[in-house]
Symmetry: C3
Subunit: 343 residues, 3 copies
C-alpha cells in the first residue's frame, strides 16, 4: 500500500514541506530507508544521520524543517509515528476461533469472538470476553477473568483467580499470580505463608516478556490502568501501581510498596518493601530506593536520594583522589607551620 | 467456614483478649478486612492502619495488646498467620490422575498418586514419586527424579538428569539444568564447554517464577534443603547453596560460588564466581560481592564491604559537597596565613 | 568408554607426565574425581584442591607440572577440556523426526532432517533447515527462518518474522521478538508504537535461559555471530551486537545501543539507550553505562567510568570516614592557630 504525503498529512494532522505527491509505501529507520520509505527524526542526536538519509520523506518536528528532504511536519514526530505505523502496518488478529487442541475447563465461559491457540489450557469457571486472543501454549488457571481485546502471547501463565482488564497485552513468559516470597521464621526454618490473595491487572496494561507478578498474601496485587511494564520486571506481592506507571526492564518492586500515578522506575532499579512513592515520582536507572518518596520528586543512587544531590555527590566522588591530595597538602603545610613555630 | 476466636486460640496456641465468641470466616489485610474478618499486625509501621481497621479481630503480638479490637495474642503473629492461612484456606490439589494428553517417556516410572496435567511431557526413565503434582505444560527431561509431594507449576522446564527432592515448589517459568555459561577462548572465538554435570535440588526448596539454575560443568549445582529462592534469580553452574538460604528476587550467584547455611542474599545483589560465603552471611540489597565473606558477617555496597562501614561511607558520600567546601575554606585560610607571613 | 592418557594426549595435542597407560573413563571436578577420572586445574586458586585430589590424572598447564598426579599437559587446560568433554560425552540428538503432536503451519518448510518435539508449533511459511532441533513445547511464529543445526530447548518462543542462523542454541524460556518498550506520550497516556521490525540472530549464537530479545521498532535487532548471552539478559529493541560479544547473566542493553565486536558486559550491568560501545570494550559487573565508550576501554561503576579510575575512587570512598576526620583535625588546628594569634 502506498500513500501520498499530502494524504498522510491530512490523516494525522500534519503539514507537508516539499513534494505533496511524494509516494511512500513503508516506514524504515534513517539508515535503511530508501526513496519510497518514510523515516523519522524524533531524537536530535540522530540529526546527522537524518541529513545523510536516503529516505523519500522524513517525519519531523517544526524545529527541524531545515532538512532538504520532503518533510511531513508534525508537533510530535514520535506520537505521529505511532499513528502512521498503524496506518502502514495494520495488525490483524493472527488467529481464528478456538483451536481444536485447546482445553477449556468445565464452567469456563469463552466469548464467541475470543480466539484460542493450539494447546492452550483455560481453567474451570474462567471467563474470556470478546476479542480476547490467547496464543499457543498459554495456561489460564481457574476462576480467572480476562477483559475484551486482551492478548496473551505464547507461553503466558496465569495462576488461579487472576483478573485482567481490557485491551491488555501480556508478552511471552509473563507469569501472573505465583506465590509471593513470604515466610515466617521458626527455629531456623522458613515457614511458608500460603498466599490466598490475587492479582488484578487493570485496562490497557502491557507486560513485557518474562515479567513476573506475584499474588498477594491477602487482598490483591494491582497494576493500575495504562501502566506499561518492560521485560524481566519483578512485581512483588501486595504491590500497587497507580495509573500510567512505567517500569523499565529488570526493575523490581518489593512487597507491599505502593506507587501513585505516573511513576517511572528506570531500568535495573529496585524499591524495597512497604514504601509509598507519590504521583509522578521518577527513579533513575540502577537506583535502590529504601525510603518513601514524595510526589513529583526525582531520585537516584544507592541508596536513592534527590537526583540532583546524587549528581553533585557523584561529581565529588569522581574528584575524591584530588580531594585526598589536597588534604595531604594542607597537612604537610600545617606540619611545616608547627615546626616553624617550634624553636 | 467460620471460627470462634477461642477455637482459633486453642488450635494455634494463643490467647484471646476480648470476645471469645467473636466469629471470623476469613483473613484479610488491615484496610480491607470487615467485621467477620481476622486481620493481623506484624509490622509496627502499620500500627495506625491497625487502629483504623474495621476487622472483626486482630492477630497481634503481646506488645500490641492496647488495641481496642478483639485480639488473638500470639508470640509471633507472622508465624501464627502461616498456620491460620492453612486452617482458613486449605489448598487441595488441583489435579486428578494423569491427563490423557500427557506424554510419558519409555521407562519412566510415575507413582499412582502422582498427578500430571494436560500437555506435560515426562522424559524417558524419569521417576516421579507419590503425590508429585505436575501442572499443565511442564517439560521434564530424561533420567530425572522428583521426590514425593513436589509441585511443578505450569511451564516449568527440567532438563535431563536433574534431581529434585520432596515437598519442593517450582513456580512457572523455572528452568533447571540449562547449560552453564562457560567458554574457552581460542583465536578470538568462544569455544563451548559441553556441560555434563547436573542440578540437585534438596527437600523443601521453593523456586520463584522464571528463576534459572544452570547445570554444572562437571559434578553438580546444588540447592540445599529448605532454601527459598524468589523470582528471576540466576544460579550459575556449580554453585552450592547450604540449607535454609534465602535468595531474594533478581539476585544472581555466579559459577562455583558456595554459600553456607542460612545465607541471605537480598534483592538485585550479585555474587561473583568462585567465592565462599560462610554460614549466616547477609548480603544487603543491590550489593556486588567480589570477595569471600566469613560466617556471620553482614555486607553491603558495590564492591561489598562490612555493612556498618558501608553505612558510614554512604553517610560521608552524602556529605561530600560539604567536605569539599571545608577543604576549600582551609586552603583559603592557609593561603591567607602564608600571605600574612610574607612581608 | 575408557581412554589411555597417551591416546588422549595424541588426540588433543598434549603431553603426558607420568603413566602413559593410565586409564580414565570420565571427567569430574577435583573434589569428586576418583582414580579412574580425569580432572583439571585451570584456575590457580584451586591448586591446593588439586594437590589433595584423588583424581587418576589431571589436565594441567605447563606451569603446574610439579603436581604428583599423572598429568596431561596442554597449553590451555580449559580449551583442552572443551575438546575432551566432547570426546568423553558425545551428545547425540535427543529426538527423532517430527512428533505426531507437533503442529506445522501451512506453507512451512521443514527439512527432512529437522527434528520437532511434542506439542511444538511452527507457524505458517516458516523455514527450518537441516538438523534443526526443536524440543517439546516450542512456539515458532510465522515467516521465521531457522538455520541448520540450531537447537531450541523446551519452551522457547519465537515471535513472527524472526531469523536465526546456523548452529545456535536457544535455551528454555528464551523469548525472541516480543515488542520493544516504546511509547509516545499524549495527554498523560502512553501511546503504543506498534513494533514492525524484526530480530536477526546470526550464526553460532547461544542465548541463556529466560533471556529476552525485543523486536525492532523498524529495521532489526541483531545479535552478531558467535556472541554468547547468559541467562535472564534483556536486549532491547534495535540493539546491535557485533561478533563474539559476551553478555553475562542479568545484564541489560537498552534500545538502539550498538556494541562492536568482542564486547564483554559482566553480570547485572546495564547500558542505557542510543550508545555506541567500540570493539573490545569491557564493562565490569554491576555497572551502569550512560555514555558511549571507545574501543578497547574498560569501564566500571555507576555511572560507569574508566575502570582504573573507578578502583581508585572506591579506595578513596573506603577511606572517607578517615578523610573526614583529617579535615576536622585541620580545622581544629586552624582554629587554634587563629586563637593563638588573637591577643
Amino acid at each position: 500500500m502506498s500513500y501520498r504525503l499530502a494524504e498522510l498529512a491530512e490523516r494525522i494532522g500534519g503539514e507537508v514541506r516539499g513534494d505533496l505527491d511524494r509516494q511512500v509505501d513503508g516506514i524504515r529507520g534513517l539508515e535503511t530507508a530508501g526513496p519510497t520509505d518514510l523515516s523519522f527524526l524524533a531524537n536530535p542526536r540522530y540529526r546527522k544521520t537524518a541529513i545523510a538519509s536516503r529516505a523519500g520523506a522524513l517525519l519531523v518536528a517544526p524545529a527541524t524543517v531545515d532538512l532538504v528532504h520532503d518533510l511531513l511536519v508534525v508537533p510530535d514526530p514520535y506520537l505521529a509515528l505511532a499513528e502512521l505505523l498503524d496506518i502502514f502496518y495494520p495488525q490483524p488478529s493472527q488467529m481464528v476461533g478456538v483451536h481444536s487442541t485447546a482445553i477449556i475447563g468445565e464452567g469456563a465461559v469463552v466469548d464467541g469472538n475470543a480466539r484460542i491457540g493450539p494447546y492452550s489450557v483455560v481453567g474451570e469457571r474462567s471467563r474470556l470476553a470478546a476479542d480476547v486472543e490467547i496464543h499457543a501454549h498459554v495456561v489460564v488457571g481457574r476462576d480467572c477473568e480476562i477483559g475484551s481485546g486482551t492478548v496473551l502471547f505464547p507461553g503466558v501463565v496465569i495462576y488461579d483467580g487472576v483478573k485482567i482488564g481490557e485491551r491488555c497485552r501480556l508478552h511471552s513468559g509473563v507469569v501472573l499470580g505465583s506465590d509471593g516470597f513470604g515466610y515466617a521464621q521458626h527455629e531456623g526454618a522458613h515457614v511458608k505463608l500460603t498466599h490466598v490473595g490475587s492479582v488484578v491487572v487493570e485496562d490497557d496494561v502491557e507486560l513485557g516478556a518474562n515479567t513476573t507478578v506475584d499474588r498477594a498474601l491477602l487482598d490483591e496485587t494491582r497494576i493500575g490502568a495504562g501502566s506499561k511494564v518492560d521485560n524481566l520486571v519483578q512485581i512483588g506481592h501486595n504491590v500497587e501501581l497507580g495509573r500510567g506507571c512505567l517500569l523499565v526492564s529488570q526493575s523490581g518492586i518489593s512487597g507491599s510498596t505502593r506507587l501513585g500515578n505516573g511513576v517511572v522506575v528506570a531500568g535495573q532499579s529496585g524499591l524495597s518493601g512497604h514504601l509509598k512513592l507519590g504521583d509522578g515520582v521518577q527513579v533513575a536507572a540502577k537506583s535502590a530506593v529504601f525510603k518513601s518518596v514524595e510526589a513529583g520528586k526525582k531520585v537516584a543512587g544507592i541508596p536513592a536520594t534527590d537526583a540532583s544531590s546524587w549528581l553533585r555527590q557523584q561529581a565529588m566522588v569522581a574528584r575524591l583522589v584530588e580531594l585526598g591530595r589536597r588534604i595531604a597538602i594542607l597537612e604537610r603545610s600545617e606540619e611545616t607551620g608547627k615546626q616553624e613555630k617550634e624553636p
